[in-house]
Subunit: 518 residues, 2 copies
């Protein structure tokens, strides 16, 4: 029985007002294992030559200067740019060669995002890799219920699964869109879920500046006044590629930057539609957009924490469908990582991305291709690392736990190779000799528990045992795991005053405006 | 209508003796697309530091000198070693520090394996990657018939699928074990299938020295006397890890080396059982074993073409099952690749490896993890690149075509990033500008056909279309593709005299000894 479980038991008893509930909680409270964020002890894979980097960086500056970027419906942004030395024509900002990169230099190379459980704090940048779940789907899917619109109840389930997933460091943001709650109010319920059902770090709302402000206010309730002195949220600011920064996203960015909250500034590109069909051309545009957005964040507040983002998919030119796990996406990810590191900025890309409609082999090939590329490409913050299905239209319960399990592999690969004396194992090789067997030797006995990564959901049974158990496929195994995790879930303890404060804020804000849908 | 199809039509007519058959063949003969072997235009991923390499290389030499390697039931081998300067005690060969590496220096850094269609010749070594199918399973599986013992008819189907798979460069060897043919005769039928049903390069038999000799003799019939002047087979010589070289495998190696045929010398290791549980310890043993085996090939015939192999899986310490697509396997693959390149030798590792019993998400995660590791790890020859299921116990028809399709991704990733003016796409970015759309621009129109890799089997349809089509999962899509490919298959043309010569040889050899099973 851990300290945490004891606190949980007491807390639940207090809230439910019954000693029987407390005892039940004590009995069932599982030990929550949570891995620390990944610190890579392996090199990055660098696909761009020095010459290629030079060309792309030069071209990106050419775009910023000659083509310019549009800051739409945002006179204050245009003023900031003019003051910084850009030439503004209408809403088009032309940034002289070198200026954007210079402005980006005040952004930190690395920052800590704080969680309400300090053991869950994450460092973003440098050699780190922080894993966050799927973001944005309006639908959910599971084997039992099929594909359907997501609800707030689904949202809470995904937050619970995220909290229970040991390789996941971050609770994420819109793990699915709770379509049963009004568009102008659902961010409040979503934030409450992340704040109370998990103790991992989370993301704020970006769909309107006022919702970003709500996110900041709720953080003040949760964390106190220190909330705005350091990053307690990392939020997703998409660029409207090509080269356009709309006032909604920029309005949210302005609020977060002013409050020292972190933003991912992320070109969102379906290749061939929002960027050229070529890898180098796309990388050039990604760099120009990321530099412009990050430079703008530093105009709002020098030193505001930001992440250089790149979300790029390829497209099936037959059907127009975005495609995932493709070679072009891997190359762009690797190249963008190099470009971000050249600016000493944290880098976001990758994820458990796939186009498949089911958590089947297609989904897994596409996902694994992307996860592997992201690990070796030096990604520091990986959104969508589990649960993404059908091109991001669907949050899949089964895929969430299958992907989350695969994230353990990233941890283990990143740890590198131990060449200590124990790692060298020369005693074992001497002890066993030609034709011998290692299972019983002293070195194996001393090391076997941690020697090999082991899946918690995939099937390692012999054919006959597996067959007798009904020959379950991965989806069936994952279904059972989802049910078990949700059954075993116990909320992390929270100060009741804080929980009540959040609820009060939400109720007040909900009462202040009528429901809006769409 | 291609020239090849015309020849095929004529040939089939000749064999079947009917103009109607010829016309049918003409109508149905599909254009066989076959990609050239991969030439990497990307860097290798190098996980071992210079210090780690130094430690492992030093330790490997320590093993060879102090522990030694066993050459069992092979007095001639012991004589060769003694003559070369090793100390032989019983069957144990102690190789003085530095000697093995020095002996390996006569092996070529790169060689060409010739196919009967010269367009299918493959270069093995340097920056190349040659892809060969699954090898060895006694069972086959498909959606319709489930899991069952493999037959010669299954074998032929896999050879046909391999011939039709455009990203596969090599016809392989034992694509499944034809268990309905006597053990001492099945190699003859297998070789005939590779030689007549495909025109891609193939592997020889290694299960007895006399079967290696049969393979050489059949190559002489197929290729004429030039057969033994250059590599026309690449065959798989497994080391009995730890540190043991049995007389069956060494006997086959001796025949192939003497006849200038290529061998993969490959430690076959289930980590924790046949090698230490640590990555560095396993790499050390792999290096010692590969050096000893390759050095021995050069004692038989200096200059004989060989490949440094490493087949290493991890183990599930709960069940004892070998596991695939694991982080330990990736690390060992990357490290072994570095060690092989330090010796300027071609490197074999990787494959579409998985432990799953079905071609489901588990199979695809594990497979993609391995394929990605192998591509970036500098593998030159990849056996098992498609069709492997259930830890190598099963050749799966559906997984064969799913994996073979994924191999297209390796081709495209390996091509690197084009930074020519067309690749830079600055005209497109200027033409489209902020807020525009690239689908219609001149650069997209000129480049879209080759811009993005596209799967030939995965599903890119919108949800509704896919749903109306019965919501097929990857296995169902693959099943349909297998049927279509086998229906469309037309054998490549072969000189009838050669085909008859092979048949005569096989019949004579089969008549010369009674059937043996097991």
């Amino acid at each position: 029985m851990t300290d945490m479980a004891e606190v949980q038991g007491g807390r639940r008893a207090g809230r439910r007002g019954g000693g029987g509930a407390a005892r039940r909680a004590e009995r069932t409270a599982p030990k929550i294992e949570a891995a620390r964020f990944i610190e890579r002890n392996i090199p990055n894979f660098e696909i761009l030559t020095a010459e290629a980097i030079e060309i792309i960086e030069y071209n990106a500056d050419t775009i910023l200067e000659e083509v310019g970027v549009a800051f739409v419906d945002n006179p204050a942004a245009l003023d900031r740019w003019r003051e910084a030395g850009a030439e503004v024509k209408g809403e088009r900002v032309h940034i002289p060669r070198g200026l954007a990169r210079k402005l980006c230099a005040t952004a930190p190379a690395k920052f800590t995002q704080h969680a309400r459980n300090p053991e869950r704090d994450v460092e973003i940048g440098g050699k780190s890799l922080v894993l966050a779940p799927v973001y944005g789907p309006p639908f959910v899917r599971d084997a039992e219920g099929g594909r359907r619109y997501a609800t707030m109840e689904d949202f809470r389930k995904f937050v619970k699964l995220g909290y229970m997933s040991k390789w996941l460091h971050h609770s994420g943001g819109t793990v699915c869109e709770p379509t049963d709650i009004a568009v102008n109010k659902r961010h409040l319920d979503m934030l409450e879920a992340h704040m109370t059902l998990s103790d991992k770090p989370f993301m704020g709302s970006v769909t309107e500046p006022i919702r970003a402000q709500d996110s900041v206010e709720m953080c003040k309730i949760l964390f106190g006044e220190k909330a705005t002195q350091a990053p307690h949220m990392t939020s997703l600011i998409n660029v409207n590629s090509p080269l356009t920064f709309d006032s909604t996203m920029m309005g949210a960015l302005e609020i977060y930057a002013a409050n020292m909250q972190a933003c991912i500034i992320s070109p969102f590109i379906v290749g061939g539609a929002m960027a050229p069909v070529s890898v180098a051309g796309t990388l050039t545009q990604v760099l120009a957009e990321a530099m412009a957005g990050i430079a703008y964040s530093q105009l709002v507040r020098p030193g505001a924490p930001v992440i250089f983002g790149a979300f790029v998919t390829s497209i099936d030119m037959n059907s127009g469908a975005p495609t995932f796990g493709t070679p072009e996406a891997s190359k762009i990810l690797w190249g963008a990582g190099q470009l971000a590191r050249r600016m000493s900025l944290p880098f976001r890309s990758g994820g458990g991305l796939c186009g498949s409609k089911l958590p089947d082999a297609q989904a897994a090939y596409e996902t694994a291709n992307t996860l592997n590329a992201a690990l070796l490409g030096g990604v520091n913050f990986m959104l969508h690392s589990c649960g993404w299905l059908e091109g991001g239209l669907v949050s899949s319960f089964e895929k969430f736990v299958l992907d989350a399990d695969q994230l353990g592999i990233l941890h283990s690969v990143a740890s590198g190779i131990d060449v200590s004396e124990n790692g060298q194992a020369m005693d074992a090789i001497r002890e066993v000799g030609p034709g011998g067997h290692y299972l019983g030797c002293a070195h194996t006995q001393a090391n076997f528990k941690d020697a090999f990564w082991r899946s918690d959901v995939l099937d390692y049974r012999p054919f006959e045992t597996w067959s007798d158990a009904g020959a379950p496929d991965s989806q069936a195994l994952a279904s059972a795991r989802v049910k078990r995790m949700l059954d075993e879930y116990v909320a992390p303890p929270i100060d009741q005053g804080i929980a009540d404060g959040l609820r009060d804020y939400i109720e007040r804000r909900k009462a202040s405006e009528p429901d809006a849908f769409g």
